[in-house]
């Protein structure tokens, strides 16, 4: 359990490691963040973030709203680059490769790192086409294989039984929770190594939330999951590691149980005991 001091963090060159994954682990999908600063125009919102995300584990990012937790994971797949006034400095290493290098192929990067958003984002097309979207984008394959992969992805997202009869209905006709699992299936179909989830259950009812949480627990056997949540119970339920963000800085990062039962930093304690935020 290591608390990262907010003040010294920015200038300390070798960021102190969090719970470092075992060096010999063959699992892919380890992310290392080094000295990440982020700016909206002139306004800096992330300060010297350093984080080591273990492969095939669930890492939760918690913190009060506006603390930069969503901004942080939006760097991993460089989705922030859609907006010209947003920029960042530092490094994000995926299995040792710096994702922020200009030579990185965004198409391939985003195939390897999937993302789920706060609100479900079914595309205006059928359920089938939604799931097939990434496959058609990145690969050419026979129709039968495409159908197989769509089915597998829907099964992986625990949605197949609910939509098997309406594959050719619009994805927008599904319920909110189903839509979100559709988006997860769509992301899983291209077999990413990392799945970023930005408050994935904030627009979903409790039953849907439970299904998605169950899904997250199951999926971590295959891929790395980083989940942003404002719901501390959720973080405690499903994550292996937790990072606590405050005002753009990582206050504390460690084993979830440790962090929630025995926080090192006073601010973490205040937050998880509900004294602010």
């Amino acid at each position: 359990m290591i608390a990262i001091e907010t003040t010294s963090q920015a200038e300390s060159a070798p960021p102190r490691p969090g719970p470092q994954p075992v060096e010999s682990s063959p699992a892919r999908g380890a992310i290392a963040v080094r000295n990440l600063d982020f700016f909206y125009g002139e306004h800096q919102v992330l300060f010297g973030n350093g984080l080591d995300i273990a492969p095939r584990k669930v890492t939760a990012i918690i913190g009060p709203s506006g603390c930069g937790k969503s901004t942080h994971i939006r760097v991993y797949n460089r989705i922030y680059e859609l907006y010209r006034d947003q920029r960042c400095t530092g490094e994000v290493l995926l299995d040792g490769q710096n994702l922020l290098a200009p030579t990185v192929d965004l198409i391939e990067l985003r195939r390897r790192i999937g993302m789920i958003f706060q609100t479900p984002t079914p595309f205006p097309m059928s359920v089938f086409d939604n799931v097939a979207y990434g496959l058609r984008l990145h690969y050419t394959m026979p129709r039968s294989e495409l159908a197989d992969r769509v089915k597998t992805a829907l099964e992986d997202a625990a949605l197949w039984d609910e939509v098997r009869d309406k594959l050719h209905h619009s994805g927008i006709e599904l319920s909110g929770g189903q839509q979100q699992r559709l988006c997860i299936a769509r992301a899983l179909a291209v077999e990413p190594e990392v799945l970023l989830m930005d408050e994935p259950t904030s627009a979903v009812d409790p039953v849907g939330t439970a299904k998605i949480e169950e899904l997250v627990r199951r999926l971590k056997e295959r891929l790395t999951i980083v989940i942003v949540t404002h719901n501390m119970q959720q973080a405690a339920r499903i994550s292996d590691f937790t990072a606590f963000f405050l005002d753009g800085r990582i206050v504390e990062f460690g084993d979830t149980t440790e962090l929630f039962t025995n926080p090192v930093d006073r601010k973490t304690e205040d937050y998880i005991t509900g004294r602010f935020g």
């Binding site: 198409i107 984008l137 990145h138 690969y139 050419t140 294989e145 992969r149």
Partner: protein
């Protein structure tokens, strides 16, 4: 399963980006070209007397189109007084009261149809309705014809823009105990106000520069618009008549009138934009 050509996808992306940029450039080139011709040919026709005097006979020097300028302003104002309130109320009906009702569906449908009615048909209709029954052309008829064109434009944009306002906003205002009409005027119309202004702007811009509806209603006149109940001078029909005439001095005056009407219409648009920016 094999990887699709990422290089080809990126090349297609760049090709489309370049084509889109060129498309925007084409639009701007034509805008600059048209405005340049209007300004350079029109400005030389302008003088003090152009704005203060009545037209001179062909071939004679001097004279102006003061009567037509005044007439256009009066006819457009009359059209706005008739068309904008009716259009906004019809739009409010569509967005706030008529949704899901058979009558509302029919009216919404007919508003679209009416938007598709060519402006010259509005002129023709007002000719048969007013000019024939009164027995003479008139400025009133011209204003009614223009108002007919404004009504559906204003109604449609009002309805569309108000429909974009989320129901939660209406509900939260109603939950505070506000009466329905106040919610509509103060909450819904306010949140949609930039859209509403855009709609009115579109309508005014389209209508004040219209020629076709005036051809058989207001007609034209070489005199001051003393009364609205006779043929009334206006800029656009004057441009048409003068441009088609064989006289160089009249063609010249047509360019001058083109400059004036363009400047006037653009000034209205820019003014509205300014108001829009200040209020948002």
């Amino acid at each position: 399963m094999k990887l699709a050509g990422a290089r080809r996808r990126k090349a297609a992306d760049w090709a489309v980006r370049i084509a889109a940029s060129l498309g925007a450039a084409v639009g701007i080139v034509f805008l600059v070209w048209i405005l340049w011709e209007v300004v350079s040919r029109g400005a030389s026709a302008l003088s003090w007397s152009f704005f203060t005097e009545l037209p001179a006979p062909p071939g004679e020097a001097g004279g102006g189109l003061a009567n037509a300028i005044l007439g256009t302003v009066l006819i457009s104002a009359g059209a706005g007084l008739l068309g904008v309130p009716a259009g906004i109320m019809a739009g409010i009906y569509l967005a706030e009261y008529g949704q899901g009702t058979r009558f509302g569906g029919l009216v919404g449908f007919m508003v679209n149809v009416m938007m598709g009615v060519p402006s010259i048909i509005a002129g023709l209709f007002v000719y048969t309705l007013i000019v024939v029954s009164l027995g003479h052309f008139s400025g009133y008829a011209g204003a009614v014809a223009l108002a007919l064109l404004m009504l559906p434009i204003v109604a449609r944009t009002t309805a569309d823009m108000m429909a974009l306002v989320p129901d939660s906003l209406r509900e939260s205002a109603l939950a505070l105990g506000a009466p329905r009409w106040r919610v509509i005027v103060q909450i819904v119309a306010r949140s949609a106000r930039s859209g509403l202004l855009t709609g009115i702007l579109l309508a005014v811009a389209r209508v004040s520069g219209e020629t076709a509806p005036l051809l058989f209603t207001a007609l034209n006149s070489p005199y001051w618009p003393h009364s609205f109940s006779g043929p009334t001078a206006n800029l656009t029909v004057t441009i048409f008549n003068y441009a088609m005439s064989p006289y160089r001095s009249w063609q010249q005056a047509a360019w001058g009138a083109s400059f004036v009407i363009t400047a006037g219409v653009l000034a209205v648009s820019l003014l509205t934009r300014y108001i829009l920016r200040r209020t948002t």
